[in-house]
Symmetry: C2
DNA sequence: CTGAAATAAGACAAATTTGTCCTAATATAA
DNA sequence: TTATATTAGGACAAATTTGTCTTATTTCAG
């Protein structure tokens, strides 16, 4: 469903959101990759992409790190779009160039409602909600 | 959402179902790859996998080809499982080893209903229904 | 100013997926 | 029986994704 990069990206974002609920400190690559059990250098690359997409703010140098942008509640669909693009939510499931009502593929109508439902859920689910759940239920970041 | 192989597999199966509605003749690789606009040798590999999964029957030699097994209406979820495995419908969206209610990941509950909806749609949608639509609406196999 | 600690960025490497090619095995028509 | 048309299968090649390494750049403490 999601690429590996995207899986990491979701874990990264939720971890940072969770940390920032506890303190305002920036979070660095080392802490992130340890917490979510991901390869450090690869994690750093994904962080760069998230910064380029304005889903994170970075600061370099001593005591630098990553933090969420202010007044900006981020949804899963924003993270997915930043990393994997629009294909999952907007593209044709059979890989045709476009997905539209006017020119639907053979399965378009059969999966339309399910895809719409998924899209709404991914838009509704945001870091605020997830971070709250992590606190409440002590959900985990790695196995 | 689906791998390229799985996209081709769905097109392959629907094309064969459609052809067999018109005549009982077996369908060969050449006709399939031309109809769905897929690389021939790669298509042949996918066909082999579908035969191994018992979703198709093959016959070799002159006038050989592929046909649907008798008395066996195949759903999209069966095709997807045969080619991409259980990951999409049963695996954890964040890539953890297991997906369960007892040990849910941080997004498990948020996406549960959407995934369930998708699963049901993929189980409901079968080749009979799709092939019928192809006939009714003149839907296409390639762009 | 200098050193240490952090992100940025580019080149490289490994793994996986996608796709190609060649040969073997098989079945049928003639 | 023989030629031909088909699937089966293995080795290989290309493309993409995943992951690593090294160096530059930035920031701040002291
Ligand atoms: S055209 Fe294929 S899913 Fe919409
Ligand atoms: S445990 Fe992650 S989706 Fe169920």
């Amino acid at each position: 469903m999601f690429s590996k990069r995207c899986e990491y990206a979701i874990k990264i974002m939720t971890f940072i959101a969770h940390q920032q609920k506890k303190s305002d400190k920036k979070v660095d690559v080392d802490a992130i990759s340890k917490a979510i059990d991901s390869p450090k250098a690869f994690t750093a690359k994904i962080l760069q992409d998230l910064v380029k997409s304005d889903l994170l703010v970075s600061s370099r140098g001593r005591f630098g790190g990553f933090s969420l942008p202010d007044q900006f509640n981020i949804s899963l669909s924003q993270i997915i779009e930043a990393i994997d693009g629009k294909k999952l939510l907007e593209g044709c499931v059979l890989g045709f160039g476009t997905c539209s009502e006017k020119n639907p593929c053979i399965v378009h109508h059969h999966l339309k409602s399910a895809r719409q439902h998924l899209k709404i859920k991914l838009q509704e689910t945001n870091l605020e909600i997830i971070a709250k759940r992590v606190n409440e239920k002590n959900a985990y970041f790695k196995e």
